[in-house]
Subunit: 127 residues, 2 copies
DNA sequence: CATAGAGGTTCCAGCAACTGGAAGGTCAAG
DNA sequence: CTTGACCTTCCAGTTGCTGGAACCTCTATG
């Protein structure tokens, strides 16, 4: 299966698939003409990557998750640890963004938004 | 005032201050020995940048906000528009992260996290 | 006066995770 | 034979810094 079919199948752009090969995540075989040739196993990995990236795991996390995916002797504790750490980070980001949202929405509400220069947003930024 | 004092005053790392100069945000004068020399006006701008970056505005937004800050004839509507757009983006990110959080926390809860290979997280990622 | 250390300067490289584009090889259809 | 759609590699750019090397300058001290 060539790269554009692999792209359709996995939902990843061809550019991204090549990039994943560059960094050693999924290394397909090659045909005589030099074209990449994706096996079923490669396709599983690409789909796995698509989904784990979609859940916001870093590429390095994905690398580890992929190796756990392939490890029939894995301990689920190892997977859970990665996911938990990621979850904590997501929760931290949510809290951070909610704090920004609170501040900004107050400022936006307080601003008249007219042709005049007076602006609580600018005043706040000016400190 | 030299760069390390400007750094202390603004809360920005010296490296960042030099970077802001590189990209044309705050251009201090120079002393005879080549050292940067920050005026009160420069310091106001640096503080303004520190705060607007702290609210998550992009550097390009900050550039526009800074010019509005200096424009005595600004329309507050222009400021408000930038802030509103940013706010919408923040809210979009919050929603996205909350969706990830929901999925991930379910998966983490469902995983035993023991020495055995069975893992709902991996199963989900595998599709 | 020599020197050590704490500043300052410039410039180059690298981070994450791709993405775009150029230059060129390959293949099937008309 | 040519067109067009594939494929290949490689290089550069994105965002917003950050680290480091190599070198200059100033101040204090022996």
């Amino acid at each position: 299966m060539n790269i554009s079919d692999a792209s359709r199948d996995s939902g990843l752009p061809a550019k991204t698939i090549r990039y994943y090969e560059d960094i050693g995540l999924v290394k397909p075989g090659r045909l005589e003409n030099g074209y990449r040739d994706y096996s079923d196993d490669d396709l599983h990995k690409l789909r796995f990557l698509q989904r784990s990236r979609g859940l916001g795991f870093s590429v390095e996390d994905c690398r580890v998750l992929l190796s756990l995916y392939e490890d029939r002797n894995r301990a689920s504790a190892d997977v859970k640890q990665i996911a938990k750490t990621h979850l904590v980070e997501i929760e931290r980001k949510i809290a951070e963004l909610q704090s920004l949202q609170k501040t900004l929405s107050h400022l936006v509400d307080a601003c008249q938004g007219d042709h005049r220069p007076h602006c609580p947003i600018i005043n706040d930024l000016a400190g």
